[in-house]
Every structure is written in C-alpha cells, then in structure tokens.
C-alpha cells in the first residue's frame, strides 16, 4: 500500500486544534517509556507529575503562580512570532525588568504608599522594553539577526543581575548571601487566596491575554502583525511597515517580559536573587507554540507547562527524579507538536485505495 502526501489547499482547522492534544498524549507516552528506562514506576511517577498537583488548593494556586509569568511572556512572544520576529531573549528582558522594578522597591524601601507597586510595574515594563529595544534597533537599522542578539543579551542580563546582587545591592544583613533586602510590604503584590502564593499578577496575566486576543483578532494592528509575518511583500502592498512592526512586537514582548520579571520579584520571591526563574523566558517559547500563538490557547498551554514544573518538583521529592526531567518533557512536547503540525498542512492518502476509487468511477 502506497502513501501519498499532498499539501492541503487550506490549513486544516480541526487538526490545528487537535495537534496540541496529540502532542501531549505522545509526550505522556514517551514519559512512560522514559520512566521505565530510569527504573521508576511509570504509572506512579506520572501520577505524581500530572495529577497530584491538582488535588490540593495549594497545588492549584501554585499552578496560577507559575502560569502567570508564562502567560505574560508567552503572549508577548507569540505576537512577535506571528510577525516573524524571533525574540528569544525574553529571559533577559525579564531579568532587566525585575532589576528596574527592584531598583524602585529598594529606593523607596520602608516607605508606605499605594503608588509604589504601580511604579514598580511601570519601571519593570520600561526596563524590559528598553532591553528589547537593543535587538529591535540592531535589526531595523543594521539587519542584525534578532535571534542571536536577543539571546546573547540574556547572558549579559544575568551577569548584570549577578553584579548587583553580589555587589552594591547585597543585603548587608543577609549573612553575605547574594540577595537584596526583602522588599517592604507596599512593594509586594497582594495575595488573592489567603494561605497560598497566588498573587494579583495572575489576574493581570489573564487580562493581558484577553486584551492581546482582541488586539490580534479585531484591530488593524493585529491584522498588520499577521500580514507582516506571513507575507512581507503583501504587507508593503498593504502599506504596513515591516520595521515598525518589528519595533512594535519587540517592545511589546520586552515590556510584557519585564512585567513578568516585576511580578516574580514582587510576588513569590519578594527580593532579587541571582536566579529569578527556572527559565520561564525559554519555556514561554514552548508555551507560545503549544498555545498555537493564540492568546487564549497560551493561557491553557501555560497551565500545562506550570503543571510540568510543579510535577517535576514533586517527582524530584518523591521519586528523586532530577529536575532536568521537566526540561526533557518540555522539549519533547514541542517536538511532538511540531511533528504533528504536519497533519495541519498536509494530508496523507492511501494510494492503493485511491486507485480503486478511480477505476470504480
């Protein structure tokens, strides 16, 4: 029996929605095999990974805590990816955003005021935006590949943070640990559910996702982003400027990453430390793709990824599974997603069957 692969005349809608599910199933199946190979009980470990975090209030709240930055960054990246702008330095923009917000928090340390938190958010967004402006400028002015520059700047950003927390911003009463003072009360995000770490940032992230969805689906700017990404020549024909779109999407992505950094510093961490995130800036790339670059899809994808983080931590404790397993799962998920996307654009036909049809008719 022969297979024939043909491009579909139009992208398949059902498959577009089904592939994330297919990819997740394949990832779970691969996880089963991986755990077997590692000598762990697959069922038990998968249960720890995927189910047990959902059984407690605290687990659910943690899901929100970890999903919030992923949603913020993922939405920003997805808007860029739609325009074919490959900002992969969100981790760096997040770091600079957190530094800017931390600067505000430390400058007004001990002071009271409802304005401090908003000021931190503005500073954080400006920080991330300014840092994303560097690759945007280099790309639009000199045509420098933004993938490489934004990534290189991530390493630099982490070193800047390290300079600060090991040096001038180190808490003098911190037993020489590389960390700043704990932020004061008015620089900490309010908690939504008493007794958990779920903070206001989660709601903001949800609001941002909805706003981004409206932007992309209902406005000319959203249409412009889409056209620039899919057909640059058609964009020029339409009167849309490619460079302005690069600026717009990069700055937006940077600001949202900066906001995510602010929320991390002012939320679950409450200070600046050398390693602010377990790589949210990179995981958000997977989130963006898994969510089909659609803001609402990204909310779901971020929850899935958050689950993998919490599950990873659980499995680390109960099954002494290395934390790196989370990264393997995330990478695998993206592979499977990219692979199953084939079905969205191509259709596979059984040639033998087709022949029969032809002769029959």
């Amino acid at each position: 029996m022969l297979l024939r692969i043909e491009p579909r005349p139009e992208v398949s809608r059902p498959f577009t929605c089904a592939t994330p599910a297919i990819a997740m199933l394949l990832t779970v199946a691969s996880g089963w095999l991986l755990f077997l190979a590692l000598g762990l009980a697959p069922g038990e470990t998968l249960y720890q990974f995927l189910v047990s975090p959902l059984l407690t209030l605290n687990g659910l709240a943690e899901l929100g805590v970890k999903a919030a930055p992923l949603v913020l960054i993922g939405v920003g990246l997805a808007i860029g990816f739609r325009a074919n702008v490959w900002n992969i330095g969100a981790e760096g923009q997040l770091t600079i955003g957190a530094i800017a917000a931390g600067w505000v928090a430390l400058a007004f340390w001990g002071q009271e005021g409802l304005w401090i938190l908003p000021a931190m958010c503005v500073a954080g967004m400006l920080g991330g935006l300014a840092y994303a402006a560097i690759p945007a400028f280099l790309k639009t002015r000199f045509d420098v590949n933004e993938i490489l520059t934004s990534l290189m700047l991530t390493y630099v950003a982490n070193l800047v943070l390290s300079v600060l927390v090991f040096g001038p911003w180190k808490d003098p009463d911190g037993f020489n640990f590389p960390q700043t003072k704990l932020f004061s009360e008015s620089a900490i995000l309010p908690i939504l559910v008493e007794g958990t770490r779920l903070h206001l940032g989660a709601l903001v992230a949800l609001g941002v996702a909805v706003a981004a969805w409206l932007l992309l689906s209902r406005t000319v700017v959203g249409f412009q982003i889409e056209v620039v990404g899919q057909a640059p020549a058609a964009a020029r024909f339409a009167g849309f400027s490619g460079k302005r779109t690069v600026w717009l999407t990069m700055l937006l992505g940077g600001a949202l990453a900066g906001l995510a950094g602010t929320f991390e510093a002012a939320g679950p961490i409450g200070q600046l430390i050398p390693k602010l995130t377990p790589g949210y800036g990179f995981t958000a790339i997977i989130v963006a793709f898994l969510g089909r670059l659609h803001p609402l899809g990204i909310v779901v994808a971020a929850l899935v990824m958050a689950l993998s983080y919490i599950g990873g931590e659980n499995a680390q404790v109960t099954a002494s599974l290395p934390q790196a397993a989370t990264g393997v799962f995330q990478g695998m998920l993206l592979f499977y997603l990219l692979a199953s996307d084939f079905l969205v654009r191509y259709r596979v036909r059984l040639l033998a069957a087709e022949r029969k049809l032809v002769t029959a008719s």
């Binding site: 043909e6 005349p9 139009e10 992208v11 209902r218 406005t219 000319v220 700017v221 249409f223 889409e226 056209v227 899919q230 057909a231 020549a233 058609a234 020029r236 024909f237 339409a238 009167g239 849309f240 400027s241 036909r349 032809v358």
Partner: protein, 523 residues
C-alpha cells in the same frame, strides 16, 4: 492515437501517458511521437499540462499510466540523471541555475560526477564557439543577462550530445531579436539530427520554427498539425477550443488632461540584484490605458512599487496625481488619494495565501470602502465586500472565507483585480494582469479595465505580453535597464520597433553582428 508519418522508429514516442495530482488529471492518455531531427511543437494554453508531460519525459515526475518509448524501447527514466544518460536534455522555463556559482560550476552540476572542471571549461568554450553561443565559463551567473543564462542551460545540454532537447517556453524571457538567434541554433541542431520538443503557446514562433505540432487542451491531445500550412488563427482555435473572438482594438481617444504624471522618477536599486530607475517620465490621461512593455527584470517591478507606493520617493513631485505630489506617500495613503495597484505576483504579494478572501479584502480595500474604522476591523463589511468581488467578477471560490491559496491562478487574479476595480480608483496601476490566466478570465479582466477607463480613470498596464498590450492600450512605452522609452501610439507601433526598444542597450545585437553576421543574415 497520433501516428507520425514517414519516419521509421521514432526518437521518442509517448503512449497513453496519464498523470494525476489528487483529483486533478494533468495528463490524460497523451500519445504522440517525435522523429529524429524533427522540431516538434507542444502547443497549449497555460495549465494544459505541457510542463507536467515533459517533466515525466525528463524523469522529474513518474507518469501514473502509459509508456515512454525511446528509439523503440520502453524506458522509465526515474530521475533526470537517467534521462540524460538516454540522451534527453532539457532547458527550463525558469532556469535551473545557481546565481552564486560560476558558469562552469553550474554546468558541472548537470553532468555526471567526477568531471574535471578545468577540462570542462575548455569544452564549454569549444561548444559555445561552435554554436555561436558566447559564454565566459568563469563568470558567476548572477552577473549574466537573461539571454546569457539561457545559453548556459543550452550549452549544458549540448555538452552531453543530446538526441532530444526539450525547450520549455524558451522565448518568454527573450527579446524578439534574441529569440531569432535562438531559433538559428535550434535549426542547426535539428539539421545535425537532434530532435527538439518545443513547448510554447506562441503561435507565430511555432509557425516559424516547427515542422509538426501536437496540441494539448485540459491535459488531452486535441489535435496534431503541420504549423506551416495552418494559420495562427486555426491553431489558436484548437488550443483554446472555442471559436476565437476577434480582438477589437480600442480606438484612441483625444488626449485629455493628464491625471497621472511621472516626472523624472529616479530610484536606486534595492539590493544587489535590483534595477535602478533612471529618469522615468510619462503621463496618462483620463480614460487612457497606458502600456509598459519590456523583458522581465528591466525595472518593471521597481516601477510598479514606485507607482503603487511600496517604495516612497523623495521629492514627492516625481509622482503626481491631478497635479498633486504623492511620491512621498506610502501605499496606504496613495490609495486614499485615489491610486490603487495590482502587483505582478498574486501569491504572497497581492494576496496572503493562507488568509481568507475576506481578510485579503482588508489588505488593500480597508480604507476606501470602510472595512475598518478607527483601527477596528469590521468583519461583516469585509466579508460582504469579498462576496461582492466574487459575484461581480465571477470568481470561482468556496466563498469569502476560502483561503486565497485554494483558488486557481486565474480566479485569484480576477479577485485581486476586482478588489481594486471595485474601489473605483482614479488611477489603476496593474502589472501582468493576465499572467498565467485562461482566456475567459483574461477577457473578464480586460473588460473591467475598459469599463474603468470608460468612467474616466487613468490606467497603467505593465506587461511582458506584447500581444496583450497591443490589444488593450492606447499608448505604450518600453522599459529597458531602468529607463523608459518615448511613448508610442499603439496603433502606429510595430512589433519590430518595440522589439528594438526592448533590446535597447542589451548589447546582444552588437555581439551578434560582430560574431555571427552570417546567422543574422539568414534570419
């Protein structure tokens, strides 16, 4: 079944070749034969299945059914290497050359592996001298003219002493003079015993060159004839299938006030392979259709972009609409002052392939027809506008939500032209309006342009199809290396005159007289 008269074993014989792509049958039981030394035309409209058929002969596609006989033996060339070993050479319509590689490297790629490149360079020089196809083996291809590139392809075939040479629409990129030189080479090859399968839809060429023609329509052989005894008209009828409507030439109108004025337009080249526009000037009056002819790659794309606003021009007075300077405006703002355009490339330029027709309506019609207000998209309005274009231009599509990619070339072309025409622009700039479009769609598009002109719009048509320009324009001018010739009244213009203008500063005619005067005399 088409029998070839006279000769014994045919060089090439096809028996019942069928090739399907999904539900489309590109070739349907095609049979014909080519004798040794014969120049055999394969005639048909765009989409008649000519290219698919020869790809099967050259081993690029595998026919689903049927037999290929080579000197009486059944063969199944699985890839081009095997076809070349049999003695089949092919020159592609869109050349299969590599810009960044030298001539000798390009040719080595078409030979068996392990050819010594030094020795090859010598043989290239030899063959190109022998056939009057001058070539420098060590130049990189991107530095060559279109005519020279075609020579590279031909020399590549000749080096393998082919017994059958397939030429796919070889003159579509040549000036009439360059085409004449090509015909000489082909006649000479035929005299030496090489068969030539010549694919074209240009009737005059086939009459001049070929001793036999097989006519394809909708994937089937619909006839076979001797082009020398047929008229162009009778062959066209076989090709198109219906009785040919006489193309009535438009009567020139008295000149009105110019609506579009291009005044000393200069534009630097965009990138290493671009063409700079140098001092382009012309005027188009209300109700006038102005044609711009020329061989591809002489600045037509740049001119389309400069007129449509994809590239802005400072000072803006180089482009004026009703006296108002608009050169500095981008495409969106030029549309608002009444200038709409249709670029040459449908997919990815005039339309976004993966977006719906309704979304594609937003691309260029969002402001003039109110499909978006205050930055917010009005989806219903966009949908409605797309449906109106589909209805009024007879676009065959699933509806306004069908992806642009799912439409056939002709239907998408009707859609993108219709989208601009229904915005009732004051000025319409349209490039290659009927490129790759069937006769019916071409008639619809031409009619729409006539109607628009009738209502007082000024229209610029940029096309490589001289017959089209001669049929629909009032005046025309020729582009060559970024310069525009003086405008000719279409009724007074002759093909020869236009051809000379197209050749312009190409240098080819000069070379010809210097190196092969005898051949030129024959022509």
């Amino acid at each position: 079944m088409v029998q070839h008269k006279g000769a014994g074993a045919a060089r090439l014989e096809l028996r019942g070749i069928t090739k399907r792509f999904g539900s489309l049958t590109a070739n349907d039981a095609v049979s014909f034969a080519v004798a040794p030394g014969e120049i055999h035309a394969l005639l048909g409209e765009n989409g008649a299945g000519k290219s698919t058929l020869v790809k099967g002969i050259y081993g690029l596609l595998q026919p689903d059914e049927g037999e290929i006989l080579w000197d009486g033996q059944v063969v199944h060339p699985a890839n081009p290497q095997e076809a070349r070993r049999l003695g089949i050479g092919m020159v592609f319509q869109h050349f299969s050359l590599f810009e960044a590689l030298t001539v000798v490297e390009n040719i080595a790629l078409g030979m068996e592996r392990g050819t010594d490149r030094k020795a090859l360079a010598g043989r290239i020089a030899e063959v190109s001298r022998a056939y009057g196809l001058p070539l420098d083996p060590h130049r990189e291809v991107h530095a060559l003219s279109v005519g020279e590139r075609q020579r590279v392809e031909i020399v590549r075939c000749l080096l393998q002493s082919p017994k059958l040479l397939i030429m796919d629409e070889p003159t579509s990129v040549l000036t009439p003079q360059e085409a004449d030189r090509l015909f000489e080479t082909l006649r000479r090859l035929a005299r030496e015993g090489c068969s030539i399968l010549y694919i074209s839809h240009k009737l005059q060429e086939i009459k001049a060159l070929c001793s036999r023609a097989t006519i394809l329509r909708g994937g089937r052989v619909v006839g076979s004839c001797d082009p020398a005894v047929e008229t162009a008209r009778s062959m066209a009828q076989m090709m198109i299938g219906a009785e040919l409507k006489s193309l009535a030439r438009r009567k020139s109108k008295p000149r009105a006030e110019p609506r579009l004025t291009i005044d000393d337009l200069n534009l630097p080249a965009d990138g290493p392979f671009g063409v700079a526009l140098k001092g382009v000037s012309f005027e188009v009056g209300a109700g006038e259709i102005f044609g711009i002819a020329g061989v591809a790659g002489n600045g037509q794309n740049e001119l389309t972009q400069a007129l449509g606003g994809e590239r802005q021009i400072w000072p803006g007075k180089a482009v004026r609409i009703d006296g108002r300077s608009v050169g500095h405006l981008n495409a969106e703002r030029r549309r608002l002052v009444g200038l709409c355009g249709v670029p040459e490339e449908r997919n990815g330029h005039a339309a976004v392939p993966d977006m719906s027709l309704a979304a594609n309506a937003l691309l260029s019609a969002r402001n003039r027809t109110g499909l978006a207000r205050g930055g917010i998209i009005r989806r219903q309005a966009a949908h409605g506008f797309a449906e109106r274009v589909i209805r009024e231009f007879g676009v065959k599509a699933r509806g306004a939500e069908a992806a642009a990619r799912s439409l056939s070339g002709g239907n998408l072309q009707k859609y993108v032209v219709g989208r601009e025409v229904l915005q009732t622009p004051d000025i319409l700039v349209v490039a290659q309006p009927t490129w790759g479009v069937d006769a019916g769609a071409a008639a619809t598009i031409h009619q729409a342009l006539f109607n628009l002109a009738q209502n007082g719009a000024a229209i610029v048509v940029i096309s490589q199809d001289l017959e089209e320009l001669l049929a629909i324009t009032d005046r025309l001018a020729v582009m060559n290396e970024g310069r525009l010739s003086r405008a000719l009244e279409t009724t007074d213009a002759t093909i020869e005159e236009i051809g000379l203008l197209m050749g312009g500063a190409h240098g080819a005619p000069v070379e010809t007289t210097a190196q092969q005067g005898s051949i030129q005399n024959v022509a």
